[in-house]
């Protein structure tokens, strides 16, 4: 294969089979954004430092800027575009929106997917479990607090509980 000729692979993307051709040096991040036009996956450094490009590869969070597109052949990739359930938001998305866990929204896709993987592993994480799971994702807007609260709210709802945001977290103490 010539270095400038495109590679073609097939993999599962957000539950659907997909085939894509791309320059073989491209990262999964670049393939998603540039060759599949899925710009929901963001980047903050493209050096594996900030967690902003996190997607799920076979269910596990990976930094898509450090994964070669070629390494995804026949594997399962989930991006933020695959979170919503039809026309309804995923409970994590619902909780992030309700609590203001997304401010500028740039790191949000990565936090959602990392939290999605956490909840798949541990449906009842405590605050420390959440902090550990999200410690590789940087957010400059929220101070992480609304993100923790949103993950806890979504976890409760996913467990079938009738949970609502605490008044104090939305209004503070008065």
């Amino acid at each position: 294969m010539r270095p400038d000729s495109k590679a073609k692979i097939a993999f599962e993307l957000n539950g659907e089979p997909v085939e894509v051709a791309f320059a073989p040096h491209k990262t999964l991040l670049e393939v998603l954004r540039e060759d599949l036009a899925l710009t929901g996956t963001k980047h903050g450094c493209e050096l594996g430092e900030c967690g902003t490009c996190t997607v799920l590869l076979d269910g596990a969070p990976v930094l898509s800027c450090l994964v070669l597109g070629l390494a995804c052949e026949r594997r399962r990739v989930k991006t933020v575009e695959g979170l919503a359930q039809g026309s309804r938001l995923h409970p994590l998305q619902e909780a992030f929106a309700a609590l203001g866990a997304a401010q500028c929204g740039y790191c949000t896709p990565a936090f959602l997917l990392t939290a999605d993987a956490l909840l798949a592993d541990n449906p009842s994480p405590n605050r420390d479990d959440i902090k550990q799971a999200l410690s590789g994702n940087l957010c400059r807007c929220t101070g992480y607090i609304k993100i923790y609260e949103a993950v806890e709210l979504a976890a409760a709802r996913l467990r079938g509980e009738k949970a609502e945001p605490a008044r104090e977290s939305l209004y503070g103490r008065r």
């Binding site: 933020v80 619902e94 790191c107 949000t108 400059r140 101070g143 992480y144 503070g172």
Partner: protein, 844 residues
């Protein structure tokens, strides 16, 4: 009158909406009247953000788009002898190369600092200064082309920092400035401070240093330019200030402003770092004009560090005289800022390091001397709190030491001698509502301060600090008499309303503020309102998302536009409802007679009546702040329609063996005037605490001073910022002391709560282990060194040791209000010096 008799000011002096607008609205309405305002609402853009469909600048892609890369100087200070781009142009796929001579017109955010070129013209002023730009068919080709551009540099002695700049007036980095490499020198005196010190029972001096740090938005700056052969330029950019970018593009590219369109894409974090017009924006625009193809640039993370415009490293000296009960008799404050290679907002930043010392506690006589140095580093500018976190750190640590010397609990000290609401300060700032006492009481009670202060075991401590911040700068960046914010409103016969405004969404929730306010006035749901923002072709000017101005200024403009629409619709609905127009009420999507609410029509029907009778239903609103009270040179920085207030208690855990400081918890109380969106207020406060914590403990722009002034750590991994594992718990108290100038009483909350965090942490470290760290960030090695000094019986402190002598100009002397002045320079307001600059001609 030197004891500080305070002048009260009237309640109706701030701000005006356009003449001819409805003036009968009650400035502050009781909260039970609100149906939308003050609730915890989902932001209007939240769903798009959690779906990942919000389009940020780098998400844009246009057909035939080229990619731009910038060649940057490897030298901190060098003359450019020769640039040869011929070889780069021969590389297949390269479409154009630009160098400094292609863009010779200078620009800069401030009219007094037009000192930047899109590409260095004859000189590079920091490592990373752009010197050439390439457009090519791919980023790879553009990057390869950079290696083919030959630049011959003649290195000059670099100026490493502010002290180096003081010692070395030559070689000059710029050929303008007040003295050698000192860009700006300020000397202001409000009353006779020496007489004040003579009256004091304790006079204390302190030296402090605040290291520079950067915004670190998660989104790297990006821009896309498109040129149409009919002479129109469009630029999409991650900018907080599309209006100023619009002006800079028109100037440098010599295009009629009417042919330039700037669209600010939603910013992926900004914090002040996207407030300047930037080299890369101008370069892609010029490349699009040259090639006839769209051109895009996305900065690498390393390049974002070179754009910088972050917190100025600031050396400070403060001297305060107090009576035994803590009453201040006089204060003298000096600051020296390390400005980096260009002016940016630096003149304003320098004034800000002296402006707000007077707005929390009464200072009857005040002297401020401020200086900014040019140095060969990325330019500093406005970061969250713009120029005020540094002096606030100095002041609150200084107050902690004074309280200890007086034997007064620092919380009690701060509850005394507060600036009264609706008063003028020594430097002629007009204070409106002032909820600081309530803030202090909240955090003192909530944190168990009285049970903890000086009572915790060795290694644990609590510290307290207060602060205040402006709600929008009182003056525009360039002198003009036009509104600071404009809103247009269109009511559709289907019942929808579209609001057009130049304000820019940077994650703070400005789009939602517009929707909420219009919905409140017109009795609609915020999701009935469509928001069109930040597009210079489509939206009226808003000056930008900086200085915490948007909620107040666009909010007031939106109220005016919505009230005009409400009045127009009511006039034409009244006959149908057989009710007098003043009883027509807008609630819940209905329009009805307040006397018989069951008889009503839908909002859409009411709009149709108005449209049938009067034509298309559209209104405008605008907002201009009132002129400041001060009329002296320099009085343009500090005045604001309203001041927010904060108080903070930090709990720290210090490991004496390593010097590592951990902050498990912070209590913050913030006087926001009135919450427009309660959930967004919480997010702004918590985010401010987070950023303040990072500045307190770890964030710093570090340079290899002895090795060519290279940035040590231009990466997200090495520039330490708090992760989930460092972030503390936050207990937030929202205090609402409505300000007559705020929309429904609202004041800012996005910057102010950052300010008290660094001093609260520093004061808590002292409570924990008895050493003073008079410098942020409070890193383990500083604590460790101070503890070693304490063990050896030396001064238990880490911090700066001196403040250099500077060639200060003669002071501008302005009598404080209680000494009979009128806000002008010259004793007693006799007008020795006339008001100049942006304040001229604005006397009310």
């Amino acid at each position: 009158m030197a004891d500080g008799k305070r002048r009260k000011v009237g309640r109706s002096e701030g701000g005006s909406t356009t003449p001819g607008g409805p003036s009968n609205r009650p400035l502050v309405q009781p909260s039970h009247d609100f149906r939308v305002v003050g609730k915890a609402l989902r932001k209007v853009d939240a769903t798009a953000k959690v779906l990942g469909v919000t389009k940020f600048a780098d998400d844009l892609s246009l057909p035939r788009m080229l990619y731009c890369k910038l060649l940057r100087s490897p030298h901190p200070h060098a003359r450019i002898v020769r640039i040869d781009a011929a070889r780069a142009l021969t590389l297949p796929g390269v479409k154009a190369v630009l160098t400094g001579k292609d863009l010779p017109i200078p620009f800069g955010i401030l009219p007094v600092s037009q000192d930047e070129h899109a590409l260095a013209l004859d000189k590079a002023r920091f490592v990373g200064d752009p010197v050439a730009g390439v457009a090519a068919v791919s980023e790879e080709v553009a990057t390869a082309a950079l290696d083919l551009i030959a630049v011959e540099y003649e290195p000059l002695r670099p100026i490493r920092d502010h002290l180096d700049a003081v010692e070395h007036p030559e070689p000059r980095i710029h050929d303008y400035g007040d003295h050698g490499n000192l860009h700006k020198l300020i000397n202001l005196e409000f009353g006779d401070v020496e007489a004040g010190f003579a009256e004091a029972e304790l006079v204390r001096e302190d030296l402090l240093f605040f290291e520079g740090n950067t915004h670190l938005p998660m989104e790297q700056h990006a821009a896309v330019a498109e040129w149409s052969p009919d002479g129109k330029l469009t630029l999409w950019s991650s900018t907080q200030t599309p209006h100023y970018v619009h002006r800079a593009l028109a100037k440098v590219l010599e295009l009629p402003p009417a042919r330039v369109r700037v669209i600010a894409t939603t910013n992926g974090g900004a914090f002040g770092g996207k407030s300047d017009p930037f080299s890369h924006e101008i370069v892609v625009a010029k490349l699009a004009m040259l090639t006839g193809r769209p051109v895009k640039i996305t900065l690498t993370r390393e390049e974002v560090f070179y754009c910088h415009r972050g917190r100025h490293p600031t050396l400070m000296w403060v001297k305060t005289g107090v009576k035994k009960d803590g009453a201040i008799t006089a204060m003298h404050f000096k600051s020296l800022l390390d400005g980096g290679g260009y002016g940016s907002y630096g003149v304003a930043s320098t004034y800000y390091t002296g402006a707000l010392q007077t707005v929390t506690h009464h200072v009857p006589r005040y002297k401020f001397q401020g200086a900014r140095a040019f140095t060969n580093k990325p330019p500093c500018g406005p970061k969250r709190g713009h120029g005020t976190p540094q002096p606030r750190f100095a002041l609150e640590v200084h107050f902690d030491k004074i309280a200890e010397q007086l034997g007064i609990d620092p919380a009690d000290f701060r509850l005394k001698h507060l600036v009264p609401p609706h008063s003028l300060t020594a430097n002629w700032l007009r204070i409106g509502s002032m909820g600081l006492a309530e803030c202090i009481r909240k955090v003192v009670a909530g944190s168990g301060w009285k049970e903890r202060y000086r009572k915790l075991p060795y290694g644990q401590g609590v510290g307290l600090a207060c602060s205040s911040y402006i709600t929008g700068a009182g003056l525009p960046i360039y002198w003009n008499a036009m509104p600071h914010s404009g809103v247009q409103l269109k009511c559709d016969r289907g019942g929808g309303v579209t609001v057009f405004c130049g304000s820019t969404e940077i994650g703070q929730g400005s789009d939602s503020v517009l929707a909420i306010i219009v919905a409140e006035v017109l009795g609609l749901d915020p999701f009935d309102i469509a928001v069109v923002a930040a597009d210079t072709d489509l939206t009226p000017v808003d000056l930008g998302s900086y200085s915490s101005r948007v909620t107040l200024m666009t909010g007031n403009a939106a109220i005016q536009a919505a009230e005009r629409a409400r009045d127009l619709i009511a006039r034409h609905a009244a006959p149908k409802l057989e009710a007098p127009v003043e009883r027509i009420t807008f609630v819940g999507g209905r329009v009805f007679d307040a006397a018989s609410p069951e008889r009503g029509i839908s909002f859409a029907e009411a709009v149709q009546l108005a449209e049938a009778a009067a034509g298309t239903v559209g209104t405008v609103g605008s907002y201009t702040p009132a002129a400041g009270a001060g009329k002296y040179r320099g009085a343009g920085v500090g005045p604001s329609p309203a001041y927010s207030y904060s108080a903070c208690v930090a709990l720290v855990d210090v490991d004496p063996a390593t010097g590592i400081v951990r902050v498990p918890k912070i209590w913050i109380a913030h006087d926001v005037g009135r919450s427009i969106n309660a959930a967004a207020v919480m997010g702004q406060i918590e985010g401010s605490i987070y950023m303040g914590l990072g500045e307190a403990l770890m964030e710093e722009m570090a340079y290899r001073g002895n090795r060519n002034v290279v940035h040590k750590i231009p990466s997200l991994l090495e520039y330490k910022s708090p992760t989930t594992l460092e972030m503390c718990d936050v207990i937030t108290y929202v205090v609402e002391d409505p300000d007559p100038n705020g929309p429904f009483g609202a004041k800012e909350c996005g910057q102010g709560p950052l300010l008290p965090v660094p001093p609260a942490v520093a004061n808590a470290v002292y409570d924990a282990v008895g050493v003073r760290i008079d410098e942020v960030p409070i890193t383990p090695e500083k604590v460790f060194k101070a503890l070693r000094r304490k063990e050896k019986g030396e001064e238990p402190r880490f911090g700066p040791l001196g403040f250099p002598d500077l060639p200060w100009p003669e002071p501008t002397r302005v009598a404080p209000p209680w000494e009979g002045g009128d806000g002008r320079a010259g004793e007693g307001g006799r007008g020795r010096e006339k008001a100049v600059g942006v304040t001229a001609g604005r006397r009310r």
